[in-house]
Symmetry: C2
Subunit: 348 residues, 2 copies
DNA sequence: TTGAAAGCGTTACCAA
DNA sequence: TTGGTAACGCTTTCAA
């Protein structure tokens, strides 16, 4: 029924071993032989059996990319960048393609672990975890244990935008300086004269939420400005909408709102519009992340631009490169402030 | 080094066959034995070897979801819905988890085929193709051939929002009525009094682009209204922005713009704002797809709401259900008009 | 209800 | 440079 490597070997009049070598291209094969094999492959329309190959080689060409929310363009950009990097890394000898797949955890710790197990089961070549993690000791320990097992089994692990787990020396990490980003964001608003700033934070138990909030408070404290109201919620649009209304209810005289990320910022803007407030004439809005579309969607948005494309690309490269082992160190990308709201100003 | 099924068997004092039966749960095993095995699995922290399992069983638990643009929330929603459906379908006996993975083709025909091959190589349990397809005969034939091979090999194939390929009876399809949706969209604008309507279309060679454009023209023709200017471009935000500026350049007196999808609509709105035009006071904007965020982002947006959540869910179910074979028929979901712009009106 | 053993399709080592 | 041939770890008849 299904064409196997042996069939190809028979047709090309060579041994299965030779066919394998041609297909993997990691072994010297005479040009004429290679051509004969390739022709047979083509004529028979042969497709390698992945599971068999993985079993024998004790590794697969699967690369898992875990994201918290696949409907959030933030993760879409990260995942896309990682896939591109992986794809270009593989371009070269045929058959060397990796299968970059994104797994949507939905922010659920259980699903995160489930996916990690599933990828472990598949003997994935690499796993890239993106986005902040739940700050629950138990869950972090569980994840850490899983990652250790993965690295022990030869799977490369890359943390992208998520803090390095203690004691995982064999894991490569790429982190964003959320604290500094938040600080500069607040400093920017302060320099514009804002004194009452509301803050729409992410979920209370996420690392990104805490770090950004800390940076925000540092800046306020340094300037001797009292902290404005803060509301927590999921990293989604609706949460931004609701939280902003709540902020305005608590303190109608706010002149600026900081959003936990751009998706949240979109919701915040919608809420302000629905309240009849103009941006940035009435209220300034500032958000994290580099979401191209939202910068345009809300022209006056102040955003801390994190070079995510590069981040994703590097994460992918770390994961794929088989020549070099993952550095096992932490690379921190400094947040870069992008000012788009020259007109933003506090209400006088 | 790594724990195998044999280790578990030894520890539980049973044969490997029994362990396998316990793990797969598809065979009668004495309660006491099962418990003993499960304990051994736990104590040894055993994780099934996916490739070995797939090789022996000639099938894997991988489900591929192909999307055109992972950074577009439209596909994020689809993929998420499919994953949810797959996840809930699997909940039950342990170990029965499917690995739902999304593959980003970036709209590239080559990458689409590459991913299809990669999934074929993995002996994927199912493949879900989402979004419109390239209308190139050669490419369609290639995809069709690949799909046939996949189904022959036992992989379930589901087309979601993409037209059924000729002669693929074993493929399940779920299509959106793009033509009717576009027609009703235009009818809606016409009923509001608009007579000069610009159209920002998708890429010229996509099925969705053509079908939507055809519906649009049908409505105009039926009403005896002359067609306005049309500009083609990719299904992204920037394209919507640029195309809208071009439309206005060609015909400054437009009173409404139809966008190929919501992402494009966001770009269109941005362009109108940058031109100093107000929505919908100066220009009405209408877009396809059901992107929750954009409905809020552009309060006056008229959108044809396609029940994608349900679509994705059903697609997932079709793909996973092992009890029932895929219907092999076409299910068309009627477009449902959602009017959100009671204030939209043509300039007088 | 359980065990024994024959594959499943590749890879990689050892010879030639 | 090529061939022969054990693994690789699991599933699945066939018997018991």
């Amino acid at each position: 029924m299904t064409v196997t490597l042996a069939d190809v070997a028979a047709r090309a009049q060579v041994s299965p071993a030779t066919v394998s070598r041609v297909l993997n291209g990691n072994y010297p094969v005479a040009a004429s032989t290679r051509e004969r094999v390739l022709r047979a492959v083509d004529e028979l329309d042969y497709v390698l059996n992945g599971p068999a190959s993985s079993l024998a080689a004790a590794t697969s060409d699967l690369i898992g990319v875990l994201v918290n929310d696949i409907a959030d363009p933030f993760f879409g950009i990260m995942a896309g960048a990682a896939q591109n990097a992986i794809g270009e890394g593989a371009s070269g000898r045929a058959g060397g393609e990796k299968l970059a797949v994104v797994c949507n955890t939905g922010g659920s710790p259980e699903r995160e672990l489930t996916y990690l197990t599933l990828l472990q089961r598949q003997r994935a070549a690499a796993v890239i975890l993106t986005g902040g993690s739940l700050e629950d000791p138990e869950h972090m320990a569980a994840v850490s244990a899983k990652l250790t097992k993965l690295t022990d089994a030869g799977t490369r692990v890359v943390l992208c935008g998520r803090p390095l787990v203690e004691g995982d020396a064999s894991v490569a990490a790429l982190t964003f300086d959320n604290r500094a980003g938040a600080r500069r964001l607040a400093e920017h608003l302060l320099s514009l004269g804002h004194r009452r700033i509301g803050y729409v934070a992410g979920p209370a138990d996420r690392t990104t939420t805490r770090h950004r909030l800390e940076g925000h408070r540092e800046a306020l404290a340094a300037a001797g400005v009292a902290e404005g109201p803060t509301v927590h919620g999921p990293y989604d649009r609706r949460s931004g909408y609701d939280a902003t209304l709540e902020l305005l209810r608590r303190e109608p005289s706010l002149t600026a709102v900081v959003a936990a990320n751009d998706t949240v910022a979109l919701g915040a803007c919608a809420a302000l519009r629905d309240r009849g407030l103009r941006i940035p004439e009435d209220v300034s809005v500032a958000g994290f992340d580099d979401l191209p579309f939202s910068i345009d969607a809300v022209p006056a948005l102040t955003t801390v631009r994190l070079p995510l494309h590069e981040a994703g690309a590097r994460a992918g490269r770390l994961a794929v490169g088989t020549e070099q082992p993952p550095p096992g160190g932490v690379t921190t990308i400094p947040a870069e402030l992008l000012v788009r709201d020259s007109t933003a100003r506090p209400r006088s």
